[in-house]
C-alpha cells in the first residue's frame, strides 16, 4: 500500500460497499444457516448489488489512476521519465509542462494520449501493448540498458502540441522560426520536440546513436 494516496469520494464509496459486502458474506459463511428467502436477499446484496457498486466505482477510480504520472512511472523503465518530469528543478520539456496546472500529475497522459473521439480507448489499448512488451522484454532490463534502447513507437505527433499551442495566433506566427517552419510542422515533417526547436521532451530521450547523429548532447 502506498502511504499518502488520497481516496476520492468515489474511492470511499467503493471501500464502504466492499466492506459491507464482506461483512454480509462472512456472516453467511460463519453462521451456516439454512438458505431462506431472507438469506437470498442478503446474498443478493452481498454478491450482487454491493460488489457491483464496488466494481463500478473502483473501475472509474482505476481508469482515472491509469492517467497519472505515478501509474506510468510504476514500471521501472519509466521511472527516469517520471522522476524528471516531476522534478521542480528540471527544465526538460516534460518537466516544464508538468508544472502547468492543466498537465499536473497527469502530464504523461496529457501529452501522449490520442486525441479524437476514441482517443481514450485507443490510448488505453496502446497501454496494454506497453504492458505486454514490459512483461515479455523489459521486465528484467537494467535502467542503464533501457534508457538508451527504449523508444517511443512513433514520433509524438505535432498535433498533440498544437492541441494547446495554436499555430494560427499572431504571436505564435511572429516567431520567425515558427513562420518559416509552419508547413513542415503541420505536415509532421519537423517535430516541435526536436533538437533544433524546443528540444527533446525528456533528457534521456536520446542517449544512443541518435545523440551522435544529433551532434552531441544539448547543454
Amino acid at each position: 500500500m502506498t502511504a499518502g494516496h488520497d481516496l476520492g469520494a468515489m474511492g470511499w464509496v467503493s471501500v464502504a460497499s466492499a466492506a459491507a459486502a464482506a461483512v454480509i458474506l462472512l456472516v453467511h459463511l460463519l453462521r451456516r444457516r439454512e438458505v431462506t428467502a431472507a438469506t437470498r436477499v442478503w446474498l443478493l446484496l452481498g454478491l450482487g448489488v454491493l460488489p457491483i457498486v464496488t466494481a463500478g466505482t473502483a473501475n472509474i477510480e482505476g481508469f482515472e489512476a491509469t492517467q497519472s504520472r505515478k501509474f506510468c512511472g510504476s514500471c521501472h523503465v519509466m521511472t527516469p521519465h517520471a522522476e524528471d518530469s516531476g522534478d521542480p528543478k528540471s527544465v526538460s520539456l516534460a518537466a516544464v509542462h508538468a508544472r502547468n496546472e492543466y498537465f499536473g500529475q497527469n502530464n504523461c497522459y496529457t501529452c501522449h494520449k490520442d486525441y479524437g473521439m476514441y482517443g481514450y480507448v485507443l490510448t488505453k489499448a496502446g497501454g496494454m501493448r506497453h504492458v505486454y512488451l514490459y512483461l515479455t522484454e523489459y521486465r528484467n532490463m537494467p535502467l542503464a540498458e533501457s534508457k538508451p534502447s527504449i523508444r517511443i513507437l512513433a514520433p509524438l505527433p505535432n498535433a498533440s502540441c498544437m492541441h494547446c499551442h495554436t499555430t494560427t495566433a499572431p504571436h505564435w506566427l511572429a516567431v520567425p522560426d515558427h513562420a518559416s517552419a509552419l508547413d513542415a510542422v503541420k505536415s509532421g515533417e519537423m517535430s516541435c520536440a526536436s533538437a533544433g526547436c524546443h528540444g527533446f521532451a525528456h533528457p534521456m530521450t536520446k542517449l544512443g546513436k541518435e545523440l551522435e547523429l544529433d551532434g552531441g548532447p544539448r547543454p
Partner: protein
C-alpha cells in the same frame, strides 16, 4: 451422462469465497494505483466478482426451477379425494 450441480448451499458458499477474494483485489488498486494492482483489479478482481455473482444466479435459478417442478408435480386441489 447428466451433470449434477452441487447443492445450493455449496454453490452459495463458493460464491461467497470467490467474492471475498475479488473484493480486496478491487479495493487494493484504490490504495496503490500502480500498474499491477490496477491490472489485477480490472481483470482477476472483476472476473472473480462476476463469477461469484453468476454462481448466485445459478443457485437462484435452480431453486426456482425446483420450486416450479414441485408445484407442477402437486395434484390439483379438485382431484383430491
Amino acid at each position: 451422462m447428466k451433470l449434477r450441480l452441487p447443492s445450493t448451499e455449496r454453490i452459495l458458499r463458493v460464491a461467497c469465497v470467490l467474492a471475498l477474494v475479488a473484493l480486496p483485489l478491487m479495493v487494493w488498486s484504490l490504495f496503490d494505483p500502480t500498474v499491477w494492482p490496477v491490472l489485477l483489479a480490472l481483470s482477476v478482481g472483476q472476473g472473480l466478482g462476476t463469477l461469484s455473482f453468476a454462481l448466485f444466479l445459478v443457485a437462484i435459478a435452480r431453486d426456482l426451477h425446483v420450486k416450479r417442478k414441485l408445484q407442477s408435480a402437486r395434484p390439483p386441489a379438485d382431484s383430491a379425494p
